[in-house]
Subunit: 138 residues, 4 copies
C-alpha cells in the first residue's frame, strides 16, 4: 500500500443512503474501502477487455478414469507451460477430480487454453475465472 490521496465526491443523499445500506450489508468497514473495491473490479474487467497481461484461474472437473485424459491434460498444460504458474488437484470423490490451474499471459491466450481444455473427452466442466496480476490495482 503506497501513498494515500484524499479527495471529495458528491452524491445525491438518497443514493448515498442506498450505498451505505449496501456496503454495511456486505461488511465493509467504511465508504472508502467499498468504493476502492468497485473501482478495482472495473479496472480488472478493463484489463481483460484490453487484452493486457492478466492472471486467470482455470477450473476443471473431470473423471480421471477416462482413458488418457490425465496425460493429455498434462501435455497440453506443458505446451502452455510458460503460462501455467501452478496447479492444484482435489479429489472430489471416487471418480471426480477438480483441477485448478493458475495461468498468466495475454487474455486471448488464456481464453484459448481454456477453450481447448474444455473440448477434451471426460472433462465435465471447464471455466475460466478472470483475475489480475495485481499491478496497478492497489
Amino acid at each position: 500500500m503506497g501513498e494515500l490521496t484524499r479527495f471529495g465526491i458528491s452524491l445525491d443523499k438518497e443514493l448515498l443512503q442506498g450505498f451505505d445500506r449496501w456496503s454495511k450489508a456486505k461488511g465493509y468497514d467504511n465508504r472508502s474501502e467499498a468504493i476502492r473495491d468497485l473501482i478495482r473490479s472495473a479496472l480488472v474487467r478493463e484489463q481483460w477487455r484490453q487484452g493486457e497481461e492478466v492472471v486467470g484461474v482455470i477450473v476443471m472437473v473431470y473423471d480421471h478414469h477416462q482413458r488418457q485424459l490425465t496425460s493429455r491434460l498434462t501435455e497440453l498444460q506443458h505446451d502452455y507451460f510458460h503460462r501455467v504458474v501452478a496447479s492444484q488437484h482435489v479429489h472430489l470423490d471416487h471418480d471426480n477430480c477438480l483441477e485448478v490451474a493458475v495461468v498468466r499471459g495475454k487474455a486471448s491466450e488464456i481464453e484459448e487454453l481454456a477453450d481447448r481444455l474444455k473440448t477434451f473427452r471426460g472433462v465435465k466442466h471447464c471455466s475460466l475465472s478472470a483475475a489480475t496480476t495485481g499491478k496497478g490495482i492497489v
Copy 2:
C-alpha cells in the same frame, strides 16, 4: 436529482491514477459521476439478488413464419399482462423479428417468464436484461 451530499474518500495514489485513466477513457466528466455509476450498478445487481421489484427487458428473436408462434407469444404475455409494461416489435428481415418486452415485477417471476418464452419453437434467441425501476437509484 435531490440534495447533494459531499464526503471525502481516500485512495492509494496508484489506484487513483488507474481510475482516472479508466474514467477518462470511458468519457466521464468527473470522478463523482464515475463513482456514482459504479455504485448504481452494484445497487441494481443487489436488487435482483434480493428479489425486489425490478424492471427487466426481455429480448426475443424469432421467425414469424413459425406457425402459431406469434399468437402463442401474445397469449403468454397476456397471462403475465400485469408484468408486461410495453413491447416493441422490429422487423429484422423477411423472416426474422425482434421483440422487446419491458416487464416489471419480482425478479423470480420475470426470470420465469423469460424461461418460458425461450422454450417456444421458433424462438431463436431469448435473453433477459436486468434493469431497475430507478427508485432509490439516483
Copy 3:
C-alpha cells in the same frame, strides 16, 4: 424454417436423465428443441466474440428532469443513427424513464455506444443485451 437434418448423438445414461429432467422443468417439448436452444446460445455468444454484425438492445433508465439529458441522448443516437433501428420509451414513474434502443452493427461499435450513453449525467442504468440478427441461427 428450412430443411431438417436428423442425426444421432450418444450420451451417458446418467447425463441424459439429468438433461431430460432439466428440459422438462424448463418446459421444452422435446430433446431436439432443447438442444437447438443450447446450440443457438453458443452461436450468438460466438457472433459477439468474433465481432460480426449483431443486433443488441441498449436499456437505459434515467431521470428526465435532468437538464438537457433527453436532447443529448437523442443527439447521440442520431450520431449513430445508421445503427439505431428503433427505440421505445416507457414512463416508469413521475421521474424515471426507461428507454430501449434496438441497435445493429459491429459488436465493438455497439459496445462503444452503450459505454458513451452510460456516462451521461442523469442516466442511472445502462446495459447492453446481446442479441442476434437471426441469420444463420435457425
Copy 4:
C-alpha cells in the same frame, strides 16, 4: 463413464452447418462431445440456481504486506473450514499473492463466504467461479 444411450435429434440444415463450424473451431472431435458440453454447462448453471450442493473456486489477489490480512483470511477460512476443501497460494510478485480456495457446500453459503472475503482491506480482487461436484454430470 457409464452406459451410453444413443438417440436422434433433428436440426435445421443451416443451424447444423453453423454448429459444425463452431464445434470444429473450438476443437471438438465430434457432435456428441460438443452437445454433451453444452448440456453439462446448462446443468451446472441450474445446480447453482437451485442452491444445490456445489463446488466453487474462490480466487483472491491481495497484498500480503497488509497488516494482519493473512491471519484474518486464514481465520475466516477456518470458520468455514467444513466448506474449504483445499487452498493454494501463488506468489505473483514481491507484493501480490494469489490464493485459490476450493470450497464445497450450498451455493448461498459459498457466495456469502466470497462476499465476506472481498471486503477485507488489502484484498484487491475476489471472485467466485461456479463449478460442480461432478455428480450427475457425466
